[in-house]
Amino acid sequence: MIESHISLLLVVIPLLAAPVTALLPGVRLPWLTALLVSWVCFALAIWQFALVMDGSVISYELGGWAPPWGIEYRIDIVNAFVALIVAGMAAITLPYALRSVEQEIPKHQIPLFYSMFLLCMDGLLGITLTGDIFNLFVFLEISSLSSYTLISMGRQRRALTAAYQYLIMGTIGATFLLIGIGLIYAETGTLNMADLSNRLPAVFSHHTVHTAFAFIVVGVALKLAMFPLHLWLPNAYTYAPSAITVFLAATATKVAVYVMLRVVFTVFSTGFTSDTPTDDMFLLLGVLGVLVASFYAIYQGDAKRLLAYSSVAQIGYILLGIGFASALGVTAAVVHIFNHALMKGALFMAVGALVYRIGSSHITQFSGVGRQMPWTFGALVLGGLSLIGVPGTAGFISKWYLVLAAIEQQAWLIAAVILVGSLLAVVYVWKMVEVLYFRPASDTGETYREAPLSLLVPTWLLVIANIYFGLNADLTVGAATTAVQVLGGIPQ
């Protein structure tokens, strides 16, 4: 009974729980509700992933209206994988959130915070699971509106500015997506993505379709912070509450990348994009993103901001994988979606733990703290190694596949850029490590205790996952390989 409704339950449970959470009194009760919901969703997401792991497809007709007329939830391994990341990160962020949120957010806003958190998770899950492109737009707006709210709840005044910047950029992105959807509907008369992929080839030569494609790609690129459309991201990640930075960094841009994969490969297919400069654009902007954002990261004085710029660079790697438009390249992109969620989750959690004790994310305040908070420091170092792509960590697996894809296409320059990007990552990770461990503690005489266990345990779970998926890549690479076949439209 549950099995046939999993995909719907994943969206309906958080949606119903969100307003209930907002009404609950106190601090612990809303948190407990959110935690319970996220764990149930995680369990359902694992179950759903197991069902489609062999490459099969679940089609759920909403309200019994058969596709392509009704809204269809269409689950294959690609979106089950992304849904697993979203639900998993929510399930691991919420235990972390309790102490961190109690410190950062006024008590009366806490039920609203968890309610928004659930709505944000719901929006992201909805985007991944739906097979209807207008429904995707609606969920995109749900997740966007709730993330603007969550970012504006940050402690500093600048959180409001960051939320405002994200609001303007995000809304322009969503509006572009809507224009694109309107135009392809005018051309094909359908909104179902599987149906679109059948009907679009007949009208590929029409200018309306080209316009629609451009609008959709630019709109989604704004949401996934593709260089040079990333300007909202550093501020949003820097000033959002720590737990929200962890969750958004690990999921929001990843879901947007998923939408890009879906649009480029499933809805339009390489048959369309090979006639357009799309691939070259992704490669060029990917290379620029990796180099420029990594340089920016080196110059940042704020640890959260540094990691935010590093996220823009990592999105550059994913775009390179999409730009190769080969089986190996897209495998690398899908693997990196997962691995980057793990490493950025771990790193932002470690920095959040430092912020919890020190009260600032500015690197100058970190002098010598690494020796006083060894476990947090250890997590930061291991997460950093994964970010650099040291063998034995998850980051290595995705970079390895990306370099293989570059070599396969004899794109030596791009392979070199990937290596240079890793070297730049060494510099900015070292910048934090040096201050934390090798600088003398500040002479104010203040010592900091190790972060509380509720912050350390989720951080270390992610660190261990980083190492586990670095040593045993069967699950991630296996899923990504099947995903590439299921996405369709990619020459094998």
Binding site: E141, Y148, A163, Y164, Y299
Partner: protein, 128 residues
């Protein structure tokens, strides 16, 4: 009728772009809303819009009358209007909070959110 719709979309989008390039916090928000309205008109144009024939099916037919407007786009536009209304409310509240916090509604003065760049590798010295 097509010309009227075309002109109104152009005017609305031009006004939206003009307002969004302004430095005033609230003008940008209004511009954003107008852009949403312009988009809704574009989507609305995807169905037939000058029709008075109801999109009803007779029991024997399998398609609505040829002259009928597509009701689906109208449903889509309605959804988009609801979303943009929620967005407008939220952005106005955010703008008001921002103005009272920053004591300014000039978007340029909000750039104080950008911290100055520091020396690479070596962080700035700790000030006592």
């Amino acid at each position: 009728m097509t010309i009227v719709l075309l002109l109104s979309i152009s005017v609305v989008v031009a006004a939206a772009v003009y307002l969004m390039l302004s430095r005033d916090l609230f003008r940008v928000v209004i511009g954003l809303t107008l852009l949403g309205a312009g988009t809704n008109l574009v989507v609305f144009a995807a169905g037939r819009f000058a029709s008075v024939t109801p999109p009803l099916l007779e029991t024997a037919d399998d398609a609505a009358a040829a002259a009928a407007a597509n009701p689906l786009v109208q449903a889509l536009v309605l959804t988009a209007i609801v979303i943009s209304f929620a967005l407008l409310c939220f952005s106005l509240v955010l703008g008001a909070r921002l103005r009272s916090a920053a004591n300014s509604d000039d978007t340029h003065s909000l750039q104080s959110a950008e911290p100055p760049a520091t020396d690479a590798v070596k962080p700035a010295e700790i000030k006592p």
